[in-house]
Symmetry: C2
Subunit: 198 residues, 2 copies
């Protein structure tokens, strides 16, 4: 065991190759052979480090989710600590980094679809969903009546998902800036509409 990090390196190589291949060929076309080829390793290595194809796919989704999580943390750090600014940071994070390119949107969509029929992936998906929702709600609570908080958060979450979908569909020429702007416009509208009495 020369380098104790060999395993981590190999695992990341395979995850990177998996993302690349899914982007190019879709979930169906992502075979062990192609992934191994793209990673410069052999087909046998997959079973060795991940126990099989399913394990590799789950690890890849876990990786994507952790990237998203990190984007949120990073963008939060550099913003003023007002509820509105925090909400805007969440929106930015959800369209930044890994999420920016149409390719990534496609990959997310592929994983979502796969999650429908895989309890493990579904569980990961749900955790992520709950985190986004409770994040949004904690800031909205400071900006509007309590009974408006949950519906507004659900609407924002639906908008984010919806724009991702459209990004995945629009084949290359996606404009995350526009999606971000529209989400932000909605947030301001919602804040204003629920404070109109003041």
């Amino acid at each position: 065991m020369a380098r104790p990090g060999v395993e981590l390196i190999r695992r990341q190589q395979l995850i990177d190759a998996t993302l690349k291949i899914i982007e190019e060929y879709g979930f169906q076309g992502a075979t062990i052979g192609k992934i191994a080829g793209a990673s410069g390793l052999s087909v046998g290595i997959v079973s060795h480090y991940f126990g099989g194809k399913q394990g590799l796919l789950e690890a890849t989704m876990r990786y994507l989710l952790s990237c998203l999580q990190q984007d949120v943390s990073t963008l939060m750090a550099g913003r003023p600590n007002t509820p509105r600014e925090r909400l805007m940071a969440i929106v930015d994070a959800n369209f930044s980094g890994v999420q920016t390119h149409a390719q990534s949107a496609k990959t997310w969509l592929a994983f979502w679809t796969q999650a429908m029929h895989s309890p493990d992936l579904m569980r990961l998906q749900r955790i992520n969903e709950r985190r986004l929702l409770s994040n949004l709600m904690s800031y909205l609570r400071q900006l509007m009546p309590a009974d408006q908080v949950r519906p507004t958060a659900q609407t924002i979450a639906a908008m984010i998902d919806g724009f991702w979908l459209r990004a995945a569909m629009s084949e290359g020429r996606i404009e995350p800036g526009q999606a971000v702007a529209l989400c932000k416009t909605y947030i301001d509208q919602a804040i204003q509409a629920n404070n109109g009495a003041s």
Copy 2:
């Protein structure tokens, strides 16, 4: 040729079976064998009537889109002819009928994902997308400044897609009524926000 409708009957049998199997097993698990079994017919019949699996899948998506189209027309017919009411009817239509059940949402998601890597399905998807958008825009144009029309329509479309996604995820207990209400709330907020000067 006693019944000239035999072909239509068989085609619909196979399409119905395809929907059922995709709901249960997902796109990946939808094999010719399972579909044929569910329809009570043999595997050979698929190639006979649809030329192959791909043809059956395309016909099934075409059928789903036509159902949606019909829902829109039906709900339009029984509403007052004001722009706002028409917009609400579009929202209702997109969450009614076939779209109501979580199962259908799963099937839609499966087709969307598949469309990423199939030009034919992508074309169908685009046509549907454009129809929804231009529909929304034609009514929004009567309710707000011209430069707000397109962004607002895109936001509504994203919300509808987003709620579909969440419906697909929420495994059974979906509440289309809530999604409809939230979409309608947004529409009224948007109308109000863009006419505040009056």
